[in-house]
Symmetry: C2
DNA sequence: CGGATCGTTGATCAACTTCAACGGTCGTGG
DNA sequence: CCACGACCGTTGAAGTTGATCAACGATCCG
């Protein structure tokens, strides 16, 4: 499990094997079953999760009482409620395994110790967040530029395998429209 | 001008005056007039900008040929096209001064030298991007949860002074709807 | 085999856009 | 400092996009 993490870190920083192994010892490994929650609304967001295998989604309950999926994360992505993890408040979001999932997890105190002990991790996370921020900005752009139908097409082209990996009602939720409308789009595209 | 930067850095890291002054020497100061562009579509994104005074916006030309504003930045915010700044491609976005604006700017090579010379800047930027990413995630949540009318109300309550600081057609563009509809919302809220 | 869950279809409805026109105001050149 | 033009905000009518609701068929899983 640490192999996935090791490979990912090496994409961003140059560091020797002993050091990276030492950094790895700050994490715990944990497995979750399908539909099990890594984090639930109202809890403290104690951990930051690195997805080593599987797939999770982030969702919240909107003002109509429905689950609104805002993010998916697969292998090599980090996932948590950042604001709640670094602040002290309770989270308003849920993180749930969509598939059987294995994570590396670390709490705030250990992450701070890790930064102090291994400065290369500060650089690694600087780059991770930089990239995640750029991706979020891109996503906001698409939300502005594209109609719902175009959002679906764009997603479908960019992540064809992903479209098959998650159920359609979750995909519709993530794209910001109803499952009924997704049906309609698909019918239109087929004809 | 460096005072604004100094104060902002000290909110995130602990570092002595001499070191922070040394880090400051990596930046150039530049002023822009209202409506002047810091960065234009098709150019290389050479610089990362720290807004020391004033206000800028980020926008792109959408597939209907209209300017779509995606971000504002005021004092103490960083602004650039991150993907183009760190990659080698040309930018597809524009950054324009909404008010007379003073920035500190730094190119990629100097920023990398700065990281190497002063590791605390790596920690500073890690935290800046972490915060920016959390803010972007929040914004995505609002885009999903709120109607256009609620988006306006939410923005109006969170940044009342900002609503007066920028022209309404830019605000409408940022919120993702037409100036006409903003007029309608305001009329409804007044009555 | 039976029940729950998922995807589909069609009708109706609400949110928001588009287009065209008008009045006010701001800034610029004379 | 005034006059003119450009730009900005507003209004109303008509048109789209996507949501909601209800019902049905298919499929998955126990």
């Amino acid at each position: 499990m640490l192999d996935t993490f090791r490979a990912h870190v090496l994409k961003y920083v140059t560091v020797d094997e002993a050091t990276i192994a030492a950094a790895g010892s700050f994490f715990q490994v944990k497995k979750f079953r399908k539909k099990e929650n890594l984090l639930s609304e109202g809890q403290l967001a104690r951990y930051n999760y690195f997805i080593a295998a599987g797939c999770v989604r982030k969702y919240f309950i909107n003002n109509k009482g429905q689950e609104q999926t805002t993010d998916f994360a697969i292998e090599n992505w980090w996932m948590t409620d950042l604001a709640a993890f670094w602040g002290q408040g309770k989270t308003e979001i849920n993180i749930q395994a969509v598939e059987p999932t294995t994570v590396l997890m670390i709490d705030r105190q250990n992450l701070q110790r890790l930064f102090a002990a291994h400065p290369f991790m500060e650089s690694y996370f600087r780059q991770i967040y930089q990239k995640a921020y750029a991706a979020a900005e891109n996503r906001i752009r698409y939300l502005y530029e594209f109609s719902r139908e175009e959002l679906y097409l764009h997603f479908y082209r960019q992540f064809p395998e992903f479209t098959r990996r998650v159920p359609q009602y979750l995909l519709a939720s993530y794209l910001g429209f109803t499952p009924e409308y997704l049906s309609e789009i698909k019918r239109k595209l087929e004809s």
